[in-house]
């Protein structure tokens, strides 16, 4: 890096650098949308072919943990959005505290998810490991749970990465509140909010179908 410049030579200004970073994040998010998009397409195709089985399988998921986890993620996103705002207002310690709160909520989400997986193992609902389901709908129910485990596991990996990114940013912001850190925190926040949005749709597709008995 050139002495006296806070940005690399390909940029005309630090604002140019920050805008490039933001657009780059959105391109990355587009690739992530398509990663989850393939799973969504598979879900819709199999739900269309097995509507009763998907409703039945959904009733076997834990809506209390699912709804609690949704509230936890929405709140963590709120805290991250606040952390970005706080750093912009030069409130560095508040920003770090808010990020720490979001990390704790993210870890709680994964903890609850683990409890849920353990319950499903006890109920013999894990395809490929231990799956027992009686009745004519068994095959469709199994397809639902394949989607359930693949999509929530991939989402969980994103959560783990997000927690790591937020922790790194909390350390960096703790050291310095430069404009460069602000741009980095904004990029990390975009990733965290995206993972939240993915969960909003997974929640609607996994936990809500079939609840009204239809």
């Amino acid at each position: 890096m050139l002495k006296g410049r806070a940005f690399a030579p390909q940029f005309a200004s630090s604002r140019h650098r920050d805008e490039t970073a933001e657009l780059g994040m959105w391109v990355f998010i587009a690739t992530e949308v398509l990663l989850f998009g393939g799973l969504l397409l598979g879900y819709f195709v199999y739900r269309h072919a097995n509507p009763l089985a998907f409703a039945e399988a959904s009733r076997h998921t834990d809506i209390v943990i699912g709804a609690a986890n949704t509230a936890i993620l929405l709140t963590s996103s709120f805290l991250v959005a606040c952390a970005v705002d706080a750093l912009r207002a030069n409130a560095r310690s508040a920003s770090v505290a808010l990020l720490a709160g979001a990390i704790v909520l993210g870890a709680s989400f994964l903890g609850l998810k683990g409890i849920e997986y353990a319950d499903e193992y006890r109920e013999h609902l894990i395809p490929g490991i231990d799956f027992v389901f009686d009745g004519a709908l068994a095959n469709g129910v199994q397809l639902f749970f394949v989607f359930y485990f693949v999509s929530t596991a991939i989402h969980g990996v994103h959560m783990l990465i997000g927690i790591g990114v937020l922790a790194t940013l909390a350390l960096l912001v703790h050291k310095s509140g430069s404009t460069r850190r602000r741009a980095a925190l904004h990029s990390a926040a975009l990733y965290w909010h995206f993972v939240d949005v993915v969960w909003i749709f997974l929640f609607a597709l996994i936990y809500l179908p079939g609840r009204s008995g239809g």
Partner: protein
């Protein structure tokens, strides 16, 4: 500066998101037939739009950022549209 306070827009959208979550869980137990899935995905899309507009700050961004942000949705729409065509039209 230690007197930072969360902006009203962030607090309001956080409470709004939690209210929508309560609404979608409640409506899931109301028998609406085929509309249950429409309601669930509609409320989900509303929540996602709120997160994108307010938490991800898209409402403060110009057309260029919007093009980048909606590119993923554009390709997703093509994927879901062409991908499901065969299955939806089989007799």
């Amino acid at each position: 500066m230690t007197d930072w306070r969360p902006p009203f827009s962030l607090v309001a959208s956080w409470l709004g998101l939690l209210a929508l979550l309560a609404l979608t869980v409640t409506l899931a137990y109301v028998p609406l037939g085929a509309f249950n899935v429409v309601v669930a995905l509609g409320i989900g899309a509303t929540k996602a739009a709120m997160v994108a507009a307010i938490f991800m700050e898209l409402r403060h961004r110009g057309a260029r950022t919007m093009v980048f942000a909606t590119a993923g949705l554009f390709w997703l729409a093509i994927l879901l549209w062409l991908g499901s065509m065969d299955f939806l039209t089989r007799t």
